[in-house]
């Protein structure tokens, strides 16, 4: 039953996309956090996807799932705002905020949710086809 593998393939993609959505959520939640006690503010995170072959045969390219290979931190310098009254301000009166770019994150979120929906639709179609296959000849 080679179509059973579709659930593994699309399921892995949906899981990877939901992990991406999770990262976007934590980036957006931390968009306005300032430098913590360690002196460094929250750094935006980004997932990297990688193909994962899931067929019964390891070289089978027709069942290619997805996994999150790495989560990288954006190393650009955070936003610095002059606010001497802020409790976290440094000696010059600057407060360092996280380097999250809210616009980028929103775009990332929409892309992740669309990809997730695509995979769910694929699974629904595969499910209805399998159910029809079970009723074959009746």
């Amino acid at each position: 039953m080679s179509m059973m593998n579709i659930f593994n393939v699309s399921g892995s993609a949906a899981s990877a996309q939901s992990q991406r959505l999770n990262i976007v959520a934590s980036n957006l939640a931390n968009a306005d956090t300032v430098a913590g006690p360690d002196g460094t503010a929250y750094k935006a995170r980004q997932v990297t996807f990688q193909t994962q072959l899931m067929g019964a045969n390891a070289s089978d390219p027709t069942a290619a799932g997805v996994k999150v290979s790495t989560i990288t931190e954006d190393q650009t310098v955070g936003r610095r705002v002059h606010d001497p009254k802020h409790p976290s301000a440094d000696a010059d009166g600057y407060v360092t905020y996280s380097n999250v770019n809210a616009v980028e994150e929103m775009v990332n979120m929409i892309s992740a949710s669309r990809s997730y929906q695509n995979n769910v639709e694929v699974m629904n179609t595969a499910k209805s086809l399998l159910l029809k296959t079970l009723q074959m000849g009746q």
Binding site: M3, I6, P61, T62, A64, V66, N118, N119, V122, L129
Partner: protein
């Protein structure tokens, strides 16, 4: 006599098998729509069906009659993999991903309809055979 009844079914069964493999292939492409460097694959369905039903095979296979002989698996192993092709990118992408979501969605819908058509063919074949058996 009986194989006359089942030959048509065999052909449809092979077609159904290939349809489900193509469905899985397109699902893999859709799943990897955001994977950097992933190259979309597509199946040459007509060629795959010819290979599966033996209609396109003219070359004879090597026999392995002695224990020392190496079995030639190129013909059988090739199967559907050998009919897979790489899809070229319709619009180039910075991350070298060549999945075109519009094309994949269209292929997926097309394959779904054809899978169901094959199912109907098998169903009506079975019904015809059954009505011949019951004689009504």
């Amino acid at each position: 006599m009986l194989n006359r009844l089942t030959d048509a079914l065999d052909f449809q069964a092979q077609a159904l098998n290939l349809r489900s493999e193509r469905q899985r292939l397109i699902a893999s492409n859709i799943a990897n729509a955001d994977t950097p460097g992933y190259v979309a694959r597509e199946m040459n369905f007509a060629q795959a069906l010819k290979n599966a039903t033996g209609a396109g095979q003219t070359a004879s296979t090597l026999a392995a009659s002695q224990p020392g002989h190496i079995v030639d698996t190129s013909a059988t192993q090739g199967g559907t993999f050998s009919t897979l092709m790489y899809a070229s990118a319709s619009q180039t992408n910075l991350d070298r991903n060549t999945v075109d979501m519009d094309r994949e969605r269209a292929s997926f819908a097309d394959n779904t309809v054809k899978y169901e058509a094959t199912l109907r063919f098998i169903g009506s074949n079975v019904k015809t055979t059954l009505s011949a058996i019951t004689g009504q």
